[in-house]
């Protein structure tokens, strides 16, 4: 079991180009279509995840543009009520399930293994599988919409509206099964990230030296593991009610409609933090790099992440204040909803302190972070308002709430994400995004976002309900709605500008080099884009900001096999190297299994027996996946 001749050569027996090329051959993805479909490289899968998530962002954004066109003037007839119901459902569902969570996990899939200094993510085949399942789930939703059977019950699909009595046909079933797809995918990625962070860190990267984005993703992954089973259970119950006649949500037979809301929001509120915490991780990295000093209050930031993670499970009932719950319960949830502002506020003070004490360089990336701080504070304040029961009861289901959660989600997650794209684009592509176009992009996005969403607060206070396809001129909401619509068009344009910047910079952007921002974390210790093996020699970490504390270069851990995929497994707390574990080779089985899973899920909408025969086929494909193909896999 110990070192033997079969593992030779080791990476300390070769050097220079020969070592690099042989490692790249060992860890590379085979050429051709089959190779592309079989890849298990976290960077390729991560890139696909990111691009796919942005395509869904574009589709969801377009559905918002159509809605805003309809609402621009009173009594408009551009879109009818049925199509409008589908549009707002597609918009919310796509944004939450196909964009926001996947894009954060996508960045983690790409970045976490690089940031912790390992050669691939844990369970890379499961990672490939999860991408395909996600893709198929997204396709199911959008193909259904094209066929005019897109769901029309809102992104949280409340019963009894989504139940068998009020939503005949297949529309709500499509929604429920899309949930199953995306949650399977998200849960699998969460497990991969947790194991990668806990067991695959470079030697010496003790728990208190983990980069803050990695901490954020670790906490987020735990939130996913504890929150997402709730929505899977709920959507499975919904589809069983609809297809085989169970009565989980049917009050006439002992079921309960509020049970749906409890299960949904037990997932749905942590979901907000599943989207927000990765963004805060990005902010911490960006702020430290552009202030050129270590982040202020590392320990406080980590504790804040964990505190937010715990508290996020104590908030779900504040989505249900209008359902007439007992007052004591409501007070408890008001208190916890206000309490979560404390660790979030703490993070903001740490970032401000970092910038205050540093020498900030106002790149586009940092501008988006500053835009985030301003916008998120406004969204956070309106959040403290709606945490109070009497205020919430007044503005429930009005545009005030729409304004609040767009400030939180776009301000809190999309702005940092865009900052993150400007920051890591050079690592992923090897070229910098244009700063000139970037500045235009930022200012257009920031101004138009506020033009589009700030007036919604006022509309909500004036009583305009959400999810109405039109309104009468006498209500007096026309002018503000027109301003909102113009703002939203401009906001969409800012994304077009962003796309142009990406396309332009992919061809013409400045060549980045390994570390264009003089950042301190390990992903910048390798070339841009990184080679298939990520690091030709695994770095050894001796401080929290390794590239700043060792400008002359990092010491290396050597002795891994060159011709066999091998990575260092380390201990959880101290990151002492413990094993040379094998990492799986490329395989087509994950795609086959994901395809069969997808067919079984879709077929189960039409016949419950699909679960049985689909399960058998998926089982056989899983055996094919796990069965060792050569004896070297047994080591």
């Amino acid at each position: 079991m110990n070192a033997n001749d079969k593992d030779r050569p080791r990476d300390n027996e070769l050097a220079g180009r020969e070592l690099e090329e042989r490692l790249a051959r060992t860890w590379g993805t085979p050429r051709g279509i089959l190779g592309a479909l079989s890849t298990v490289d976290h960077k390729i899968v991560g890139r696909r995840y990111i691009v796919t998530a942005f395509v869904f962002l574009c589709l969801a954004g377009l559905s918002a543009v159509v809605m805003r066109a309809q609402l621009a003037v009173p009594g408009n007839t551009l879109v009818g009520p049925d199509r409008y119901n589908q549009l707002f459902t597609m918009h919310g569902t796509t944004m939450m399930f196909l964009f926001a969570v996947p894009v954060m996990e996508a960045f983690a899939v790409y970045l976490v293994p690089l940031m912790v200094g390992t050669r691939n993510i844990a369970f890379p085949r499961l990672n490939a599988f999860s991408y395909w399942v996600y893709l198929f789930g997204g396709l199911l939703l959008w193909v259904a919409f094209m066929l005019n059977i897109g769901p029309d019950v809102g992104w949280f699909a409340y019963v009894p509206l989504s139940g068998p009595e009020y939503s005949p046909g297949k529309r709500a079933d499509i929604w429920a099964q899309m949930i199953t797809f995306t949650e399977v995918s998200a849960l699998a990625v969460a497990v991969e990230i947790i194991v990668t962070v806990l067991k695959q860190r470079a030697p010496g990267m003790t728990l208190d030296r983990i980069p803050l984005f990695v901490w954020a993703m670790l906490v987020t992954s735990f939130l996913i593991i504890f929150a997402m089973p709730a929505v899977m259970i709920a959507s499975t119950m919904l589809i069983l009610d609809r297809l085989v006649g169970t009565h989980m949500f049917n009050p006439a037979e002992g079921g309960d409609a509020l049970l749906w809301q409890h299960l949904f929001w037990f997932f749905g509120h942590p979901e907000v933090y599943i989207i927000f915490l990765p963004a805060t991780g990005m902010v911490s990295m960006i702020v430290a790099t552009f202030a050129q000093r270590e982040v202020f209050g590392y320990l406080a930031l980590v504790l804040a992440l964990i505190a937010v993670g715990f508290l996020s499970f104590g908030l779900w009932v504040h989505h249900m204040f209008a359902t007439g719950l007992p007052q004591l319960g409501a007070s408890l949830f008001t208190a916890s909803s206000m309490m979560i502002a404390i660790p979030n506020g703490l993070q903001i003070f740490c970032w401000i302190a970092t910038l205050w004490d540093g020498r900030p360089r106002y790149t586009t990336s940092l501008l988006f972070v500053l835009g985030f701080i301003v916008t998120f504070v406004i969204g956070g304040l309106s959040g403290v308002l709606v945490a109070s029961v009497p205020l919430d009861t007044q503005v429930h289901d009005t545009y005030f709430v729409v304004a609040h959660f767009h400030y939180v989600l776009i301000g809190g997650a999309v702005f940092p994400l865009l900052g993150g794209v400007y920051y890591w684009f050079p690592k992923i592509t090897g070229r910098l995004l244009s700063e000139r176009i970037g500045k235009w992009h930022f200012w257009l996005a920031f101004v138009s976002f506020n033009v589009a969403f700030f007036p919604m607060h006022i509309l909500g206070l004036e009583g305009m309900p959400r999810r109405v396809y039109t309104y009468q001129a006498e209500m007096g909401w026309g002018n503000l709605n027109l301003i909102v619509t113009l703002g939203s068009f401009a906001f969409f344009l800012s994304f077009v500008l962003f796309l142009c910047n990406c396309i332009y910079s992919l061809r013409r952007g400045l060549v980045a080099g390994p570390n264009p921002w003089n950042a301190s974390s390990l992903e910048w210790a390798t070339s841009s884009p990184p080679p298939p093996q990520n690091f030709t020699l695994i770095p050894v970490v001796r401080s929290r900001d390794p590239l700043w504390s060792s400008p002359e270069g990092l010491p290396a851990a050597t002795g891994l096999s060159v011709d066999r995929r091998e990575l260092i497994v380390s201990t959880v707390v101290d990151a002492e190297p413990d094993l040379r574990e094998a990492s799986p080779d490329p395989s087509i089985w994950p795609l086959a299994a994901a395809g069969a899973t997808g067919i079984a899920f879709v077929a189960s909408i039409f016949t419950p027996w699909a679960v049985v025969w689909g399960g058998i086929i998926v089982g056989i494909l899983f055996i094919g996946w796990f069965w060792p193909k050569s004896e070297k896999e047994d080591k």
Binding site: A15, T246, T558, I568, R580
Partner: protein, 203 residues
Amino acid sequence: MSERPGGIDVSGLPTYAFGSRMTMAWGTAGFIVLEGTGFALAIGAYLYLAVINPAWPIGVAPPSLFWSTLVTLSLLISVWPNHVAKRSARNENLALVRRDLVIMSIAGVIPLVLRIFEFRALNIGWDQNAYGSILWIILGLHTTHLITDVGDTLVLTALMFTRHGKGRRFSDVEDNAVYWDFVVISWLVVYIVLYWVPRWLTT
């Protein structure tokens, strides 16, 4: 990077180990936690419905104890050979691992067969009322886990009789044993909730 001071040599490290030293054990633990959360939420839904309904179970007697208790006993007994298999795997004793896995395959199929009779003794269909629905859903959820792990055990048994029965496969046998413990423990909770809670509520 190679020549910097402070470098370390990992060539002497083993390529596999047991328990929490392996990534696979952590992956298994991750799935156990998320599936355990699923069980907890389903049981939460059961108790929620039990509390809001004036009578529980709704309109029928509690489910029969006979088959469910047999399932429980068969699962409890299986814990012993399961731990023997785990020990044999740790000792990397191939002959014993093969024997133990054959025993565990049988020990897994027995509760699965009994489960068929258990479903038939529930006294209620899933489409009769919400009580029947949640009863079938939770029992179905556990049965899915049972089928999954029995399938896994059968494949692993076959694998250990091939040339692959060596090295890190012993560690896989151990992970499979840990998962079986989860299937048994989760069942004990489910058994109490589905079979004893309604009896306590009616008395």
